[in-house]
Assembly symmetry: C2
Homo-oligomer: 677 residues x 2
């Protein structure tokens, strides 16, 4: 494979010149300002800013009590030159080592969920990093804690949450999902705690409190409302801050902490033992593996996971969800939460969250147990920006692409409107995970977790040593601008908040900003999908076919190559592994040895039932029996790079080139296998 | 209070000039090269490097397939000027807002555990941040994953762990402690799992397997050894990679996953229910509040916490630990882990870990249950560098200080040798938390968790979709250079690894580097302690006294001011709160309104028994009865700033100035109270 050598050099002068004359700006023109560019085209300007940020910061130091004078003078600096020399040498070593890193910025990279980061996010991170605030408390982060709260509000507004929601940043999706389930667990048993509290305080027993099963089945909104109500009732007309009010709060706290169903205090074994009913997490087959980890960590156990089948497009089947819920109920178990995946990390599929929400409402109406809905939008949450303020639409269902040197119009399998309905239903989820460091184009670490109700805050509130009063006051907690005592993590970088805040301030989370980029990503994935599936027919190069797992639900494409005729799955896997090796870095591969990058994933019987993947296996031409033994090795491309459309207008069809080279590699591998090499 | 106005301007020319002539370099001279300096003295040089790092990075972009050409050309850049303008405006807004941040770099800041970060760590973070690797997998972080493993080894070597240890970075101490307990929980029940595995595979029953209690009481080392042994026995002489070996591994996996005591699979309720014995975490009163949070998250419940009393110096009392362990045993419960705090976050106290280790050995000898030892060195772990390669010693037990304008020799209460013994015993702990972003002087986020045995890796290994084989192979896992599948978090910044690696490479974790700074910190804390306690006597300003909670165990001082004569605790608290307000930022205080910074903490009956704090209450002149009602409000100074010694040689005694101003404020507050203001 002589990658890249036949492709000629980039910019087509004449085409560009024609554009210069009076052409209106394309969306992609505007997007091009947000990033440094694959060749650092905006870098000179940006690097100047980096220097200015550093200078600005150190000027701040000089302006704080300037009369204190310096402690490191010129003579000392000269004496310290050996350290400066060592610094230069070691830093140069680091810079040299880093050059073996993966070129996420290049349109040649269509592999993992990484591309460039926005320039504002890098600038924001760097600027705040110099101050090094710790967003655990305002004491050490008066500015960036504010920015974190503002960033959280931006995300909540995008989701469609009301002002009574609550969001904060965290280290990433794994933590956000864990925290969501931690909160969901507390809310699940909350009605039983409220019942105990009411009894301890001499308040009337709630109607739903007669039997445990009914209390357990209360909707999250009702459970939180009942918790808030008990405070309102007990405090009555007492003025906040009076000794009488403080006394009520203390008694409330004792009743809360003392409840036999307070799972935070008593643990899972005691509460579950008392209930005689085991907790269950319901998630689609496409769920991320961090949910198994969360079940382990939370003491529920991985066996507490109940899988819901997905359809051919890898979206949760709501009919099967209903069956699972019915079965869990029949078995006398109870649901901690139902997870809907908003953009699965492997396939990019979006579960029909709107239908899950409707199912819950329908079940609540007929008296069946309700459940917490967690939307795992770690990957795809930002796709919501495509529909704000109104659905942008994904444009024409076709595109032009160059195949084997010829311009063609190709049909795109754009995601259905269902995906927009699902994304818009995030507003009805109880918790939403969303990772700015994925489709938000923000540097690591930037995860986020958003709760529909800020009434969850008192449930997780920790008592830090600088807090003298241990009582719980939902009214106070809701209004509190603290973050650290309401979250799973402790210390965390204020710099991440500055990065998210500055980026989202400049690139709004709607169709005037971020939504344009999301739309481009989806269209690019659809184009890659169409090219991969149609290439042999269009190019006349037969003998090898590419089979996509499903049309893109967002901007990820999974695919596998196959020879003509049916084959053992093992042979198909071997072919695709060999292709993967040519499009990825091995332990000793140098980055310049690779012309293109794709990633890999696999379908395994551990995760996907034969029922789910059978139709794909048919298209792949392999026998169903083979599946359980070895699973299917897949190639995978996440389309996040912002430069495909602009590149195409500059004469470079990177996606077509990728497809051509993938097919070329497949032909070569098969030829080598035939020749017995 | 006219803070700072009487102090004159910094450098004393003549003193400095005398030093220039042939004087040998002080330790603090060398330390001065590691940081930017309170006035950014090293900043010009450093900011130049920042620019060079950015240029170097973008040159890398241009050198990756240069023939691809640019996509953003000059015309487009010009068209994008509106975005560049908005960027400038918003970034300027951010830079302006950040200037309201806290001046951690100033020697006037003696509050929370924050100071400057080392220049190499900032450079390393920034350099790698531009590449934005994700250390979840080598696929997207081939370079920084390697740096993370190397950083982990540096920390393990400092701790004294053997090569068979395993360490990685994480978001911070809260996560590191959670992960440690998560692992400890799995190891606790591992012998019962191994017993099940041996039965399933037809291997001989282990001698300790006869009763559950004995199996539960196995030492962590024996439990992990038994797990490894079952693999060795079952695989016998089979060659790795053969179908027979793979078959054994599959059967092992099924037996492991299928065990009725596999807590990760079955959950806490099922395993604990089967055992009929509840798990307990044993920790000193000084433990960080994240342990309560961890017990909640892990499903054990906060009531599973058994507190061990601390002595007058806030170090765990091993005699009381023994009583607690005996009681837990009598009650038929079992210990998940014993936590020793290596530098409590509030007091800086170091538990006698060496004695805990000896107690465990002694109990093991006489057949009592063993336990997992977790050393929480989130704050103080780096103090270990003071003793490498051999104990540096903390120097003379006295220092010179200026009090009320007069130079005096003051006696220092240096920590005892016991603290070194304790720190050196970290090598015998099963897990150690240590936060590079605290005493490592690295930017957030940089936590770390270190395990004595890399055999814990297979126990937490997650099955990611790109991993086709779900079987568990301890031999493979030990050698594996993967990180993501063995840790609690998912995505995490490779930049943090570059920061830790570069900093520790240039400032070794021994007495030639980091240890010097740690020693300075401890001496500075002892000096502040002596000054606070001795000031009225030396200065002749009576009427107010400062009472320190205890002599520093490391580099934190907690203290409270009191008037002459016994008083209600409420009045004492009011006095100290009023002082605190003058040395901290309120919601509307501007940073330039404050001349000095200290932090606060509190002693509450929730955490500390009256027995523990009684002696301090006596010194504070308050009645014991008052304690339960209101707790004690304390002022707190973490001495991390590297500039005190050098400042003093330049004629600025920042610690004396702080003490003078604190006393001045106390006098003023009391005078105002007397005047009824």
């Amino acid at each position: 494979m002589r990658a890249g050598t036949t492709l000629g050099v980039g910019v087509h002068g004449s085409q560009r010149d024609a554009e210069r004359v009076g052409a209106a700006m394309h969306d992609t023109d505007r997007i091009s300002a947000w990033f440094a560019g694959p060749k650092g085209e905006n870098a000179e300007w940006f690097a100047g800013w980096v220097r200015r940020i550093a200078d600005d910061y150190y000027a701040w130091r000089r302006n704080y009590y300037p009369e204190d004078g310096v402690v490191v003078d010129s003579t000392l600096r000269r004496e310290n030159e050996p350290f400066a020399d060592a610094f230069e040498d070691r830093l140069s070593e680091l810079l040299a080592r880093l050059k073996a890193d993966v070129p996420f910025q290049s349109p040649r990279y269509a592999a993992h969920m990484l591309a460039e980061q926005t320039l504002p996010s890098i600038a924001g991170y760097f600027a705040a990093m110099l101050y090094n605030p710790n967003n655990v408390t305002a004491d050490v982060a008066p500015v960036t804690l504010r920015l974190e709260i503002e960033s959280g509000r931006m995300l909540c507004r995008m989701i469609g949450f009301a002002e009574s929601s609550w969001a904060h940043l965290c280290s990433g999706g794994t933590l956000a999902n864990l925290e969501s389930l931690w909160v969901a667990r507390s809310v699940r048993y909350l009605p039983l705690v409220v019942r105990d509290m009411r009894r301890a305080l001499g308040l009337a027993a709630p109607a739903w409190g007669a039997d445990d099963r009914r209390a357990l089945g209360l909707s999250p909104a009702m459970a939180l409302g009942a918790f808030e109500a008990v405070y309102a009732e007990a405090r009555g007309g007492l003025r906040v801050g009076t000794p009488e009010d403080a006394d009520v709060l203390r008694r409330m706290r004792d009743a809360y902490v003392g409840s036999a169903y307070n799972v935070a205090e008593r643990g899972v074994a005691e509460v579950v033992g008392r209930l005689g009913s085991a907790p269950v997490l319901v998630a689609p087959e496409t769920h991320h593996y961090c949910f198994e980890k969360a079940l382990d960590v939370l003491g529920v156990g991985k066996r507490g996971l109940e899988l819901v089948r997905v359809d051919r497009d890898f979206r949760m089947r709501v009919d099967h969800l209903e069956q699972v819920l019915d079965r869990v109920e029949r078995e006398g178990r109870h649901v901690l939460a139902v997870v809907a995946v908003m953009g699965s990390t492997e396939e990019g599929s979006i579960d029909p969250l709107d239908k899950v929400v409707a199912l819950r409402a329908e079940r609540e109406r007929r008296g069946a147990p309700s459940f917490w809905i967690h939307a795992d939008g770690a990957y795809g949450g930002y796709l919501r920006s495509v529909t704000i303020p109104k659905r942008l639409g994904l444009g024409e269902p076709h595109a032009t692409a160059r195949v084997a040197g010829v311009e063609r119009t190709i049909a795109l399998s754009l995601p259905e409107h269902g995906e927009c309905d699902a994304l818009e239903a995030m507003k009805d989820a109880d918790s939403v995970t969303i990772d700015p460091h994925k489709l938000g184009y923000i540097p690591y670490p930037a995860g986020a977790v958003c709760f529909r109700s800020d009434l969850v805050k008192p449930l997780v509130r920790q008592v830090a040593p600088y807090i003298e009063d241990g009582s719980i006051d939902p009214e106070h907690d809701r209004r509190s601008e603290s973050v650290g005592v309401y979250v799973l993590e402790g210390s965390k970088p204020g710099a991440a908040a500055a990065a998210v805040w500055l980026s989202h301030s400049l690139i709004p989370l709607d169709t005037s900003g971020h939504g344009m980029l999301m739309r481009e990503n989806i269209r690019n994935a659809c184009e890659l999908h169409a090219l991969l599936e149609g290439y042999p027919a269009w190019s006349g190069r037969g003998g090898v076919r590419c089979v996509c797992l499903c049309p893109p639900g967002s901007n990820i494409v999974c695919y596998a190559f196959r020879a003509e005729g049916d084959q053992p799955l093992e042979d198909v896997n071997r072919l695709n592994r060999a292709i993967y090796e040519r499009f990825s870095l091995g332990p000793t591969t140098r980055v310049h040895d690779r012309a293109r990058f794709v990633s890999r994933t696999s379908l395994s019987v551990r995760q996907y039932a034969l029922e789910t993947v059978g139709e794909f296996l048919d298209r792949l031409g392999v026998r169903h029996e083979d599946y359980a033994r070895s699973g299917v090795f897949l190639l995978r491309s996440v389309l996040m790079n912002p430069w495909y459309a602009l590149g195409k207008r500059r004469g470079r069809a990177y996606l077509s080139e990728l497809v051509e080279e993938l097919y070329g590699a497949a032909h070569e591998v098969l030829a080598e296998a035939r020749d017995g090499r």
